[in-house]
């Protein structure tokens, strides 16, 4: 994709393809993220529509101090937050859930039921699209705050600083949420390939 500055220039100058390209790239992740904050998909869609309009209207104010992507997601999250919360957002970050079920360790904390191999089996299946919709569903099933962090960090490839900016999180909380989310996903990959054997 073009540099942010170039893209913004094209958007301002009436290049429809620049806009549809941007929507193509970010609409779905924005929808997925918005769904985390609001009661249902219809509301999430409204929030995202509003966000796109706000993005266009705010283009002149975009100064490039953050990346365009961070700016987009920040507008989205602010709108989604003010639109209405789906659940108690004050749920503590540090839930006690372990990365791996404790039944898989022996009394001394060593593996009793060690991780099963699945990397080779999974390689290529996400790229080929066969696994992609399952992984998407797994992410959607994560607890909201973990989902938000995993979407931005691992799906969108943002830095921890950017994620903290977009979601108004401390570095420490962001890391805890990321850890829980990634640990759950790893377990789901393991379960997925254990079943097919």
């Amino acid at each position: 994709m073009d540099s942010d500055a170039e893209l913004v220039r094209r958007l301002r100058s009436g290049d429809e393809h620049a806009f549809t390209g941007l929507v193509e790239r970010y609409h779905q992740p924005m929808l997925q993220l918005a769904a985390s904050f609001v009661p249902n998909l219809a509301v999430a869609e409204e929030v995202v529509q509003d966000t796109w309009l706000a993005v266009l209207r705010g283009l002149d104010g975009f100064e490039g101090r953050s990346s365009l992507k961070t700016w987009l997601f920040r507008i989205l999250v602010n709108r989604a937050r003010t639109t209405g919360s789906k659940e108690q957002r004050s749920v503590p970050v540090a839930d006690p859930e372990p990365a791996v079920d404790q039944s898989r360790f022996d009394g001394a904390g060593g593996w009793a039921d060690p991780p099963e191999h699945w990397i080779e089996a999974a390689e290529g299946r996400v790229e080929a699209g066969k696994l992609a919709h399952r992984v998407r569903a797994w992410i959607d099933d994560l607890p909201a705050r973990q989902r938000e962090v995993v979407l931005l960090r691992d799906v969108e490839g943002m830095s921890s600083e950017e994620v903290c900016t977009v979601l108004s999180l401390t570095e420490g909380n962001q890391r805890v949420l990321l850890h829980r989310g990634r640990s759950r996903l790893r377990q789901l990959f393991e379960d997925e390939f254990r079943e097919v054997r």
């Binding site: 790239r25 372990p98 990365a99 904390g109 995993v150 921890s160 890391r175 990959f189």
Partner: protein, 88 residues
């Protein structure tokens, strides 16, 4: 602090799996990182576990956004045109 809890003893597997993200994020203290790596060097299961966490991150990062439907594409083109006409 969980990090201090094992400074004076070896890391066990159950602790190691909780340190993986801090390790990958580079936020472990030097001493904690050494202990974590010392544990890995003697533990094939935790080495596998770390590789699986890396693979999880990699595979999650390969998800591409789904294509817009032609109808949505049209709606967004309209939205853009409306905004343009507001500008003029």
């Amino acid at each position: 602090m969980r990090i201090f809890a094992f400074l004076n003893r070896d890391v066990v597997c159950q602790q190691a799996v909780e340190l993986v993200t801090d390790y990958l994020e580079g936020t472990l203290s030097r001493a904690a990182r050494r202990r974590f790596e010392a544990h890995l060097s003697g533990c094939p299961h935790c080495t596998e576990y770390l590789a699986q966490m890396r693979e999880t991150i990699k595979l999650t990062g390969q998800l591409a956004p789904e294509d817009l439907t032609p109808q949505m594409r049209e709606e967004f083109t309209d939205l853009y045109r409306r905004w343009r006409s507001e500008q003029q």
